[in-house]
């Protein structure tokens, strides 16, 4: 029982990341009808927003170390510490959550620029062309990151306050060995919050209502005198932001490197396919489902029974779902069926 709860928890944070990326993919596909193979790279860019934030906050001045008297010794002291003392150190400690403040404007701008300058010209082109051009963009983005930040993973620790593990077992009355890193719980809560915010935005605001109407029938909405293209551009920006913040917050769990995006992209596409192309709840549900399944498959008991199952379980599920329920779990009729 303990092991089951633990694996369930383990799946939640990964599932959260899958769900957030898949949500963005589905939003873009549902509004613009574009298949965005660069979405994984955007997740990666978000993660590097956190790295940049960390680097910015720890910008240091070289100061002579006065405690060493035999020879001249220098230490790097972050400007923040010099200016604000302990408060400055606290700010540095919170680099990852603070990076969201950087990621949101950067990713929104990037998304809108990307949509207006590139994606716009691909609305009417075949899906193959959309896949190819965004695939090329993904390579370009990740190579730029590689050139700037190097090829090695860059550790970006979570704030000290959540560095330890939460005693989940005690809360649930399961015994003390069910412990779980705090940051992963935070990530799960964060992803749930973002998902709720996106849904609330689509369901409760006038803007969201127009977007939903546009997803159903773009032409009619256009005939009513609404500039649906501009709204879709903003939706694209939002989807990019969602991927970006998902990446930024994921950095303490997985130190970011330049090719992390592609791993997540492939899995997120599988998530979209399993959830049903064009279905937002499907993307979220399938994201968590596959995340949890993957963590169960990586249990030692399961692995000894079926070696290698942890590597392929997601793909196996995708194949099964596609063969048994071709539209996916929540797929709507008439989406991508030509």
């Amino acid at each position: 029982m303990d092991a089951v709860v633990l694996q369930l928890l383990n799946g939640l944070d990964k599932g959260g990341a899958y769900a957030l990326i898949a949500l963005g993919l589905t939003l873009i596909f549902g509004t613009l009808g574009v298949v965005n193979f660069a979405h994984g790279a955007l997740f990666m860019l978000g993660a590097f927003c956190a790295v940049t934030m960390q680097k910015l906050l720890t910008l240091s001045a070289r100061v002579k170390d006065t405690s060493v008297t035999f020879f001249d010794s220098y230490t790097d002291v972050p400007y923040l510490k010099m200016w604000f003392g302990d408060v400055g150190l606290k700010i540095i400690d919170y680099a990852v959550p603070l990076s969201i403040l950087l990621a949101i404007p950067v990713m929104l701008l990037l998304g809108i620029v990307m949509e207006r300058s590139l994606i716009r010209h691909f609305y009417r082109r075949p899906h193959a062309d959309q896949i190819l051009v965004t695939f090329g963009l993904a390579i370009v983005l990740q190579e730029i990151i590689k050139a700037v930040f190097g090829a090695n993973p860059i550790p970006t620790p979570a704030p000290d306050i959540v560095a330890g593990s939460a005693n989940v077992g005690a809360w649930l009355g399961l015994g003390a060995n069910v412990v779980y890193p705090w940051w992963r719980l935070v990530y799960f809560g964060f992803s749930a919050l973002v998902i709720a915010a996106v849904f609330a935005f689509l369901q409760l605001t006038t803007f969201g209502m127009v977007v939903r109407a546009g997803m159903r029938d773009r032409e009619t909405v256009g005939l009513l005198g609404i500039n649906i293209e501009r709204r879709f551009t903003i939706v694209f920006g939002i989807a990019v932001v969602v991927a970006g913040v998902a990446g930024a917050m994921y950095t303490p769990i997985l130190p970011p490197d330049y090719h992390m995006g592609m791993d997540f992209l492939v899995l997120s596409f599988v998530v979209v396919v399993v959830g049903g192309m064009g279905s937002l709840p499907g993307a979220v549900a399938a994201g968590f489902l596959l995340g949890i399944l993957q963590s169960f498959a990586s249990m030692n008991e399961v692995k000894s029974l079926l070696p290698g199952i942890d590597q392929i379980v997601i793909y196996l599920v995708a194949v099964l779902v596609l063969l048994l329920l071709p539209r996916g779990l929540f797929g709507r009729k008439g989406v991508m069926e030509e």
């Binding site: 298949v35 590139l118 010209h121 082109r125 899906h127 193959a128 062309d129 896949i131 190819l132 051009v133 695939f135 090329g136 963009l137 993904a138 390579i139 370009v140 190579e143 730029i144 050139a147 592609m262 791993d263 492939v266 596409f269 599988v270 979209v272 396919v273 192309m277 070696p307 290698g308 590597q311 392929i312 793909y315 995708a318 194949v319 596609l322 063969l323 071709p326 991508m336 030509e338």
Partner: protein, 426 residues
């Protein structure tokens, strides 16, 4: 399939689509209808005069590559082998993508399987190239059969994702559970104490690791290149015959409009699956040849970047054209060879004529694109190509020659039908 039957089906499919009731599809169906007619005339002459000329000039060009490619500094066997091998890979990919329109993002998996099989054949049976190639093709084809059977249940983007997922799965497995077979990160290599059952029947095991041969002919240097070149020409011929055959026409019909074929009572899946298996066998062959020229197989050959590369080769040359994929493969491998050999020093020498203040930033910017940054060039090339020239080099050549002939004809306005045909072929 009986040729007459296919002609009827395609004519029927063309007619079905020509009604105005189909709305927005009308324009497309007109173009497709025009293309149908063209295929039927092609079919009446299976290997036309034009094709024979094409095949002959291709053969001559490939065999003389060591001579005429010297002019651009590519006349050495290691690179020429790569041209030929990746040409085969791209020809195979084009049979699937160019003819049926199914965009596979997992073709590198078949290449990898071919390589592993070939190296295992070297280890277990013989250092001769032929068994390795035979088993490599077989393994690539069988693997494609399994993956294609599942993936082809969906089309469009679903298909691309499924193939990508399978390729990533193979890549992950090769690195983890299958390590006893693939030797994980080190890559599969030959060893001195490999059994090599067939070889042992004839000769004693010598000291050291033997080289791959073709009945005594070493598979390195120019003999290796000519071996690959002959296979490339054979593959080109096979692809030409497939394209011109009734089967090839069915594949093109699958690309133009699968629904119409279905209305006409044709089950398209067996055709697509056959194309997929043929394409996978070509990839397996290319993988085996890679192992023949350099008996080493690693999982990185199956990575998604490798799958993306063959897609790029094909679209760079021209999707659906005969020469395009080979041309694209050669261009990519040539550029890769040049770009990745550059380093900061050569760049400084190259831009040395500039004043210092300009030279430094120029070298810094260009430096991003060369050496280790070759992938960045690849990505940019990818985007530029898809945006501006989706028909690839062959399309560019066609446009240039059309422009030239218009100039000669005295600047007549371009016929609108011309543009449609271009869009269709793109």
């Amino acid at each position: 399939m009986h040729p007459a039957l296919s002609r009827k089906h395609i004519a029927l499919a063309g007619r079905l689509g020509s009604g105005p009731a189909l709305g927005p599809g009308y324009f497309v169906s007109c173009v497709a209808g025009a293309a149908d007619a063209e295929w039927i005339t092609e079919m009446t002459t299976p290997t036309s005069h034009k094709d024979r000329v094409l095949l002959l000039s291709f053969t001559v060009a490939v065999l003389l590559m060591p001579i005429w490619l010297k002019a651009i500094g590519a006349g050495y066997p290691d690179l020429l082998q790569k041209f030929a091998i990746y040409g085969i890979f791209a020809i195979g990919f084009n049979i699937l993508f160019g003819l049926t329109g199914y965009l596979s993002f997992g073709h590198a998996a078949f290449l990898g399987v071919g390589s592993y099989t070939a190296v295992w054949t070297f280890k277990l049976l013989s250092m001769n190239a032929l068994p390795a190639i035979f088993f490599g093709v077989l393994a690539g084809g069988l693997f494609a059969l399994v993956i294609g059977f599942v993936s082809l249940r969906r089309s469009g983007i679903y298909f691309s994702i499924l193939t990508l997922a399978f390729a990533q799965m193979s890549y992950n497995l090769a690195y983890s559970v299958l390590t006893p077979i693939t030797n994980g990160e080190t890559g599969l290599q030959l060893a001195r104490n490999d059994p090599r059952v067939l070889d042992r029947l004839f000769i004693e095991a010598g000291p050291g690791i033997p080289h791959t041969t073709l009945f005594g002919l070493p598979m390195v240097g120019y003999s290796g290149f000519y071996f690959c070149a002959v296979i490339l020409i054979v593959c080109f011929y096979i692809a030409l015959r497939i394209t011109r055959s009734p089967f090839g026409m069915m594949l093109k019909a699958v690309k133009s409009n699968q629904n119409r074929l279905k209305y006409a009572g044709v089950n398209t899946r067996p055709y697509a699956l056959t194309a997929f298996v043929i394409s996978g066998s070509f990839a397996g062959l290319a993988g085996a040849l890679l192992a023949v020229t350099d008996p080493l197989a690693g999982a990185e050959r199956m990575q998604w970047t490798a799958s993306g590369e063959v897609v790029l080769m094909t679209i760079l040359g021209g999707v659906g054209t005969m020469l395009g994929p080979v041309l694209g493969a050669a261009i990519i491998k040539y550029l890769e060879n040049i770009f990745s050999s550059f380093n900061a020093q050569t760049l400084h020498a190259f831009f040395g004529f500039l004043p210092d203040a300009i030279e430094k930033p120029v070298v810094a910017v260009v430096g991003l694109f060369v050496g280790d940054g070759w992938q960045l060039t690849l990505g940019v090339l990818f985007m530029v190509l898809v945006i501006f020239l989706p028909g690839g080099v062959m399309e560019g050549v066609r446009r240039l020659s059309a422009w030239g002939s218009r100039l000669r004809a005295g600047g007549q306005p371009r016929k609108p039908a011309d543009k449609h045909a271009v869009e269709h072929s793109a």
